[in-house]
């Protein structure tokens, strides 16, 4: 474990009117691990992910990613700092082809000027070739290369989820946030997804996985953080967390505490 965590969040707080969705969360994610964030519905998992990715800024606290403070940065700046994500409710670009969806993110670190585009010069063609290569690799990684030229909206649901992962990978992230990637998938599809996540881990990407389904994440996670009512109630290895009475209570209710 490298000494400096890739994500270091301190006192992250988010309020929606009177509701405190995140109440001073601290979170350290070491480089190269799979970190799961679990918790019952409404516990603040997605809100935390939105704060980390800049989709919906936290009101207070500090979030450092790779040493950069990102609390109030726009999402595209955070993406360019090496953080990519997927969404709980699918957000693909329906009017683009499958590969074009991925190309949007692949262009993340490749600057092109309007003049290059309009004149279609050598630099523009080289950039397009690079983008195409990165995008094909990302599609290969999730097993969607055979659908590259289809319209994204035509993909079945589970493949749209994989497309989101491919799009996130094409931005060459150091950190990948996956928001309930298995939601709506059947057992076979979920298992294939776990395989993909395991492969990603070996390539060195740090993965933060938000899941509602606890069983699913226990096998592949190195560390688990448990949220309840916007607070962190437990953190540790999967087996530690599973034995934690607070976690059992949060998931099953007070009556089952001694069950």
């Amino acid at each position: 474990m490298s000494p400096e965590p890739i994500i270091a969040a301190r006192g992250v707080t988010r309020r929606f009117g009177g509701l405190v969705a995140l109440d001073g969360i601290d979170l350290d994610v070491p480089r190269g691990v799979v970190q799961a964030i679990i918790g019952p519905n409404g516990s603040g998992k997605t809100t935390l992910l939105n704060a980390l990715s800049g989709a919906s800024h936290a009101d207070a606290g500090s979030i450092r990613i790779g040493g950069n403070e990102i609390l109030r940065l726009k999402p595209h700046r955070i993406a360019r700092l090496g953080l990519a994500r997927t969404f709980q409710t699918i957000r693909i670009f329906e009017n683009l082809s499958v590969i074009e969806n991925v190309k949007v993110a692949a262009a993340c670190h490749i600057p092109v000027s309007l003049l290059d585009i309009v004149s279609s010069n050598a630099r523009q063609r080289r950039c397009e070739a690079d983008i195409d290569l990165i995008s094909r690799e990302a599609l290969q990684m999730v097993g969607l290369i055979h659908r590259a030229n289809d319209r994204a909206a035509q993909l079945p649901y589970a493949q749209q989820r994989l497309l989101e992962i491919a799009r996130a990978l094409a931005a060459k992230p150091n950190v990948l946030l996956l928001d309930e990637p298995a939601a709506g998938m059947n057992m076979t599809e979920s298992m294939a997804l776990l395989d993909t996540i395991a492969r990603l881990k070996t390539s060195g990407i740090t993965i933060v996985l938000v899941e509602h389904n606890v069983r699913l994440v226990m096998g592949i996670s190195d560390r688990v953080t448990v949220l309840d009512f916007g607070r962190k109630i437990a953190e540790g290895s999967p087996s530690e967390v599973q034995r934690n009475p607070l976690v059992i209570e949060a998931y099953l209710g007070r009556r089952h505490r001694h069950a």
């Binding site: 957000r91 082809s97 074009e100 585009i117 030229n149 989101e164």
Partner: protein, 310 residues
Amino acid sequence: MKKGWLIGAASAAATLVPVIIRDGYIIQLLNIAILNAIVVLGLNFATGWTGQINFGQAAFYGLGAYTTAIAGQAGLPWITTPLLSVVVVGAASLMLGLPTMRLRTYYLAMTTIGFGEIIRLIIVHWEPVTGGTSGLRAIPGVSLFGYGPQGQLQHYYLLAATLALAVLVAARIRYSVLGRAMIATKDSEIAAEQSGVDTARTKLVAFMIGAIYAGLAGCLYASSIRFISPDSFSGTQAILLMTMLIVGGMGSIAGCVVGAVALTLLPEALRFLGQWYLVFYGVGVIAVIVLAPGGLASLASLRPRRAGVS
């Protein structure tokens, strides 16, 4: 392959049509249709691809036309007028775009309607310069080092070549980082941002490129029709341009051209109906929107439309 055929057939038709028709009035009408097509192609950047409702396009068209007319009548050589039009329209669209691109849908629509009305009022009331409601006449024609198109037919070929260039540039943008970022911004602003797209900048760029298309079309309008008046650039015109985009097919380059040409020619084709023409026109527009929500362009392929192909 299919695309190559389409472009070839369209070019051949565009070359032959005026030779076959030989009617000065119809060629003049085609010239206006081509200019409208360029303006609608411009509108497509912001509205068709980036999803920003823009009713200011007619005002940018007018700004380009009046800049050209005023500069020409002041004695500036023609070659300066496209550049001046781009500068004026670029500056206006930047000033309008910077504060408004954060606005969404209806709010942006309202703001651009207001902008169009301001430009129209300036044109109508700044009489010594703009000629007020009676407009400007005898605007100097297109001329490069003493050479310029003579007659409507030559103007037709000049304008058709400009449209071809406008289509080429639009197609290059569509299949580039920028074009994909525009469509991504329309489909999901947050997913585009998280993929590293600066959506605020993308919206501004789309809006400005579109305005510049309109400004250049306005420049050519003034110097090929050689008479301009506020009516050609009113709010009604802005709505007509939006209708051309919707009927032709939002987001489709071919659709922009088809929509602009169809809706420019249709009122003339229906002229024999007298006052009833508006009824047929309206019914026709509604029929397209109801029966082919993707616009006329979506009728071209009976197969399910593939992404980006159109």
